[in-house]
């Protein structure tokens, strides 16, 4: 028990089951390292689901990537046919055979040629296999499809006993084997091979829903190892199989507090003046023609302008169409494409199933390793899957992108229904930031209003901004909040004009009053001046009288003194005369 608890990845693997990596993209993640080393694995599925291809890829990748020679024992196809069939995937079997990294042995069984005359065993097969393994030192063995033995030989009891012995023998040989089996009606394989191969069973499926096919892989069992239990979609393309380990079970991805500009200055201001968090997911939703693609293109433009890489998945328009249309708002995306910073991938949603889209997106992202991913629009994916399927797909995509610390922007079309706050895909709860663009219809015109519905971990504006698409790009304008409510568009303009007129009139009135005051002051000042001069003249008059009095008084005094002297007279006169005489 305690041993089990200690089972954490990264611990010394000596106690764990050893794995043989398949090299198949994604499969090693699901199986936590690969197939069980030195044990047989059963791959089963219906016809045409990719069993042979997966097993061929296992030996080829083993030879090319891990330097492990392999033996491919074909019960169905001849060696030449097999080589031809997988050549389209870029596997050169003949070369590997010449390099002694691969041995293909075609087992031919023709019932009409065989007469069973008593007891026998399958030693011939053992010897052939043993010889093939030993001659190149093979580590990997594929038996495709061993059930064909049952069509050539009739004694089932012998066959079953021999198969049991074969798998045991393979284990003793220490080779990692893949046995393929056709899917039976009630069991995993027609002959119940799963009874014998009990270490690891992988089931492949090819399902068609609404004319759209999806390949799926499921690990039915894997003894002694953790493994993903879901059905995983896989893709067969020119590079072989890629499986998508789509659901990360934990929510433990790294987060970044770094931000990335939205490309619209006004929008950045609404988001704490910074923009979106790096590695976050952003949903832009709105009704038709509200400029969702323009926002997405601005974001792409800003990303590429800062020397970061962006990948743009278009589900509605062709890349050329987007390039042309964005020219009209002053975004020149073609230079970014030329510089290799921007990549467009356009496909119709109906091209393949949802899971395939996911795998394809996954693969392209892995290859291009962008900083920003744009999906425009996700709404159309609804045509190839149900709402819950689309949601599940997007959850997985977001999970994956968050793990890779890639910022993703989705655009989604909302329909004008009663629940138009909700996006159709119902992913608004998953995303980190949600921008909603809404048509505001008023006074016979439509204007766009942009809301930041949410932006996790960030102080964001709760205001509605008017969203204007101009030839120079996108702009956000504060809407007019007045007594009449929120005004946008020409109503806002008109109101602003009206306000300006009011201000002008008011200014005029004020200046008239000022002049009036000035004039009044002038009049008063004039009056004051005249009063002043009046006062001065009065004062002068008064002063004049006073001086005269004063003068009169002194003259009188003088006269009186003279009179007095004259009365006393002589002396005075004598003295004066004497004085005069003396002089």
């Amino acid at each position: 028990m305690s041993k089990k608890l200690k089972k954490t990845p990264g611990v010394d693997p000596i106690n764990f089951l050893q794995k043989s990596p398949t090299g198949i993209a994604g499969l090693d993640e699901i199986t936590n390292g690969g197939l069980p080393l030195g044990r047989p694995t059963l791959i089963c599925g219906s016809a045409g689901c990719g069993k042979t291809l997966m097993s061929v890829e296992y030996v080829v990748r083993g030879a090319l990537q891990f330097n492990e020679p392999g033996v491919f024992m074909a019960f169905e196809e001849k060696a030449e046919e097999l080589a031809l069939n997988v050549a389209s995937l870029g596997f050169d079997l003949d070369r590997l055979i010449a390099d002694k990294m691969l041995k293909v042995d075609h087992v031919h069984i023709e019932r009409s040629e065989i007469e069973e005359t008593g007891e026998y065993d399958l030693d011939g097969l053992f010897i052939r296999l043993g010889y093939a393994i030993d001659s190149i030192g093979a580590k990997r063995v594929v038996l495709d499809t061993i059930e064909n033995l049952f069509s050539g030989l009739t004694n089932e009891n012998i066959l079953r006993a021999e198969l049991r012995r074969l798998f045991q023998w393979l284990k003793e040989k220490g080779v990692t084997a893949i046995i393929t089996g056709e899917r039976g009606e009630s069991s995993l394989t027609r002959q119940g091979l799963e009874e014998y191969v009990s270490d690891c069973v992988i089931l492949l499926d090819h399902r068609i829903n609404d004319q759209i096919s999806t390949r799926l892989l499921r690990i039915v069992k894997y003894r002694g190892s953790m493994h993903g239990t879901n059905e995983y979609p896989f893709l067969i393309d020119e590079e072989g199989i890629s499986v998508l380990p789509v659901t990360s079970l934990q929510l433990d991805s790294e987060v970044s507090s770094e931000t990335i500009s939205s490309g619209i200055a006004g929008l950045d201001r609404m988001l704490s003046s910074r923009g979106f968090f790096k590695g976050s997911s952003i949903l832009v939703s709105g009704t038709a023609g509200t400029g969702k693609t323009s926002i997405a293109a601005s974001f792409a433009d800003a990303t590429c302008a800062s020397q970061k890489k962006c990948i743009y998945f278009a589900f509605e328009e062709s890349p050329k169409q987007i390039l042309r249309n964005m020219q009209s708002i002053g975004l020149d995306l073609s230079t970014h494409v030329e510089r290799g910073l921007l990549e467009f991938h356009a496909s119709r949603p109906t091209l393949h199933g949802l899971e395939m889209h996911l795998v394809a997106i996954h693969k392209k992202i892995k290859k291009f390793s962008p900083d920003v991913v744009i999906l425009d629009p996700i709404t159309n994916l609804i045509t190839v899957g149900s709402v819950s399927e689309v949601k599940a797909m997007l959850i997985r995509l977001i999970d994956f992108l968050q793990n890779e610390n890639i910022t993703v922007m989705f655009t989604a079309l909302t329909l004008n229904k009663s629940t138009n706050e909700q996006t159709d895909e119902g992913i608004s709860s998953l995303v980190d930031a949600w921008l909603l663009i809404r048509d505001i219809e008023n006074n016979g015109e439509r204007n766009r209003g942009l809301y930041v519905m949410k932006s996790r971990g960030m102080d964001h504006s709760n205001q509605v901004r008017e969203f204007i698409i101009t030839a120079g790009g996108l702009e956000l304008v504060d809407v007019y909040l007045g007594p009449e409510g929120v005004l946008t568009g020409s109503a806002r303009e008109a109101h602003i004009l009206r306000e300006e007129t009011g201000i002008a009139l008011q200014g005029h009135a004020i200046s008239r009053k000022d002049r009036e005051i000035l004039r009044k002051r002038k009049v008063l000042e004039a009056k004051i001046a005249s009063l002043q001069s009046e006062f001065e003249s009065v004062e002068e008059e008064l002063n004049k009288v006073y001086l005269e009095e004063e003068l009169k008084k002194s003259i009188i005094e003088k006269t009186r003194l003279e009179m007095l002297n004259k009365r006393r007279g002589v002396d005075t006169q004598a003295t004066t005369k004497a004085g005069r005489k003396k002089k």
Partner: protein, 95 residues
């Protein structure tokens, strides 16, 4: 004597396993009884010559391949079912 042999038979066995020993004995009896002096029987131990197993498309052992006369036929098993062996060899049973 050598040139006139009509039947060319190759019996593939695995060493001295019980099946092999039985098969060798049975086929020798049948040949002696029905094809006296008209056959060549080659017994090959696949353990000694493993590459032959691939060349001759051998899976089950023991296997008897009737190389001639045409058509080529394969008989697997320990040759204990004489009627089937004879049918495989294309010999009409004369009681």
């Amino acid at each position: 004597m050598e040139a006139a042999k009509e039947y060319l038979l190759k019996l593939f066995v695995t060493g001295a396993s019980p099946h092999s020993v039985r098969a060798i004995n049975n086929i020798k009896d049948i040949c002696e009884k029905y094809l006296k002096d008209n056959y060549t029987l080659e017994v090959i131990d696949v353990y000694q010559l493993p590459e032959v197993a691939q060349q001759e498309q051998i899976i089950a052992l023991p296997t008897l391949i009737k190389k001639s006369p045409a058509p080529e036929r394969r008989l697997v098993g320990d040759m204990s079912d004489t009627a089937k062996v004879l049918r495989g060899l294309g010999i009409a049973i004369t009681v």
